[in-house]
């Protein structure tokens, strides 16, 4: 009797280990395929200039050339990547802060407050997302240049105070997944809408807001069109704009330096991802959710 229970347990253990093994094998295999481009880029950043092209598919450089990083870091004519990183951190840091904080606020208005014109404004908001930015650049540029905002961070940051439609819509959908009973209970207790937002809704939105923050940081970090057009003084170039200024289709291009700086430019995004995703691990607390 006891023996058979033990063997059952043993079998279960074997089964668990086997499942775990299959899981890790499968997921790791996909991960390798997914990671290949990053590894390729990193390997290329360590290769000698001609080896990048002669030894293309190999992920192991014949000789490690760390000087690619040194050469790339020099930037252009005395303006090093230190400057570009500083600018990118200003843009991505403040941009993310502005965009994500206001998006949640706005989303609450669209999802939990009944007001006249709500449907109309929500539709208009979605419409703004459907117009290709290419036709908006010129009129927007003219407005900002009339404001004398060229070569400042204002044209990049101020519009972000209005949130980002993608995040607003996303958070609206998340809020709709939260039972309204809670709001109602709080309202009966005399809580205002603002109070409900900060005390009830905001804590439930943690996964959504973290997701938005990860995206926002990366999209801003990677954005090149707005900084290209509005920040024309090289001392204000962001990393993404500077990276693109390295190469010319007909000219000499130091690809080793490009790959080096590109690999380096992924580091902040990775760090933000790794730091933030930790908060994605726990599901939200459901205490008090049972209606």
């Amino acid at each position: 009797m006891t023996q058979s229970i033990q063997s059952l347990r043993f079998n279960k253990q074997i089964k668990d280990t086997r499942n775990s093994l299959i899981y890790h094998l499968a997921v790791a295999l996909i991960a390798v395929v997914m990671l290949y481009p990053i590894l390729w880029m990193f390997a290329s950043s360590l290769k000698a200039r001609d080896e990048i092209w002669t030894n293309v598919n190999s992920l192991v450089p014949e000789e490690v050339h760390l000087e690619n990083y040194e050469n790339g870091w020099q930037g252009f004519g005395g303006i090093t990547f230190l400057t570009f990183y500083k600018n990118s951190f200003i843009y991505a840091g403040l941009g993310t802060l502005f965009q994500v904080s206001t998006s949640a606020f706005i989303a609450y208005g669209f999802s939990r407050v009944q007001f006249r014109g709500r449907g109309m404004w929500f539709s208009i908001m979605l419409l703004t997302l459907m117009l290709p930015t290419q036709v908006l650049i010129i009129p927007q540029y003219i407005i900002f240049s009339k404001l004398d905002w060229i070569n400042t961070f204002y044209p990049l940051l101020i519009p972000r105070l209005g949130g980002e439609v993608f995040f607003i819509f996303m958070i609206v959908q998340f809020i709709r997944g939260i039972p309204i009973d809670l709001d109602e209970a709080a309202a009966i207790d005399g809580c205002s809408k603002v109070g409900i937002f900060f005390r009830i809704i905001l804590p439930q939105l943690k996964p959504a807001i973290i997701t938005a923050a990860i995206f926002s940081f990366y999209w801003t970090w990677d954005d090149f069109l707005a900084p290209l057009v509005y920040l024309t003084d090289p001392n204000l170039y962001t990393v993404s704009v500077a990276l693109r200024a390295f190469s010319d289709p007909s000219g000499m291009t130091d690809w080793g330096a490009i790959f080096a700086m590109l690999s380096l430019s992924l580091v902040p995004v990775f760090i933000v991802f790794i730091v933030f995703q930790r908060y994605l691990t726990e599901g939200i607390s459901t205490t008090g959710l049972k209606g």
Partner: protein, 320 residues
């Protein structure tokens, strides 16, 4: 236990209907509160987005080019030109092919991987980072180089196909295959919908699964009756956003074909052609007309999706 209530759909129509029905009972204060909450968006929209949008609509009826200040009203000439423009037709075809493959593939990959990673197993942090990694390579010039290597005749994709015993192709030069390099690039970068799915899965209360287990539900049944219904708002969101995103895709198409749409315009996505017209050939009037045609098409498709969503999207919110 929270009831899963099928609410009225979230369509724009319904939003409006709710507000109509409730108008009499809603106090004036709610209007103020509502506008207070959306005011950041509203102010920025009125200041910086509305005027450019209206201007671009106006330009669609002119021959404005971005270099000169003067322009003439040309009526609907820009719209009529689209019907005769061979490249326009090619770009529409390429875009629809691209969107119709990218959206379903990207979403199913993202959901599958998100579920695979929604676990407390060891190493899951690492896997998440690995799966998100391709999505952060972005729009750098180096992506073009990398992509040419990967899809080149002797590249890793063909090598992989060979191992599997499948046919290899000249991915970059074959007009029937080239669009696939863009589709695969987009599917490969499924990090953003994956992360949103992951956040959605995190929001599902674990009690629901426990209850389902006690009721004897197996893995598939839990997915079918707990995960899927509760995730529909997020699936819906991803579907809408990924479709809009795919229709507007520009950077990757620009980088991979050097802005040309070759071969034979099979990778000439709509936004790419629009950009070329506006910024390379200075035909901003024509580009604006193209942009508004695109807006109308996407808006129509979105409206249909919102309307259809009432049949399959479930909200926790009890709205009555």
């Amino acid at each position: 236990m929270t009831e899963i209530v099928q609410s009225a759909a979230p369509s724009v129509d319904n939003l409006r209907r709710w507000s109509l029905v409730r108008r009499r009972s809603v106090k004036r204060q709610n209007n103020l509160v509502g506008y207070f909450f959306i005011s950041p968006w509203l102010i920025i929209f009125l200041l910086f987005t509305l005027a450019p949008m209206v201007i671009s609509l106006g330009l669609a009826f002119t021959n404005y080019d971005i270099l000169s200040d003067d322009y003439e009203y040309v009526g609907t000439a820009n719209f009529e030109r689209m019907r005769e423009d061979i490249r326009y037709e090619r770009s529409v075809k390429a875009t629809f092919k691209y969107v119709s493959w990218v959206v379903p593939l990207r979403l199913s990959f993202a959901l599958a991987i998100a579920m695979l990673l929604n676990t407390k197993r060891r190493g899951v942090y690492f896997y998440r980072a690995a799966f998100y990694a391709p999505s952060i390579v972005g729009g750098s010039v180096a992506v073009a180089v990398m992509w040419r290597q990967i899809f080149g005749n002797a590249g890793i994709v063909n090598a992989f196909l060979e191992i599997l015993g499948l046919d290899t192709y000249r991915w970059l030069g074959d007009p029937t295959r080239a669009i696939w390099t863009l589709i695969i690039l987009a599917v490969w970068q499924f990090g953003s919908p994956m992360l949103i799915f992951l956040a959605g899965l995190k929001q599902i209360p674990s009690e629901l699964y426990e209850v389902a287990s006690i009721d004897g539900a197996n893995g598939f049944q839990k997915f079918r009756y707990v995960t899927l219904p509760l995730l529909t708002p997020i699936i819906f969101f991803n579907l809408i956003m990924q479709s809009i995103h795919a229709f507007r895709q520009f950077t990757q198409a620009f980088i991979v074909s050097g802005g040309t749409g070759r071969p034979l315009d099979t990778t000439l996505l709509y936004s790419l052609y629009l950009y070329q017209r506006a910024f390379v050939n200075f035909k901003m009037g024509y580009a604006a007309a193209m942009a508004w045609v695109m807006l109308l098409v996407i808006a129509l498709l979105t409206l249909i999706s919102f309307w259809l969503s009432r049949y399959w999207v479930f909200y926790e919110t009890k709205e009555s």
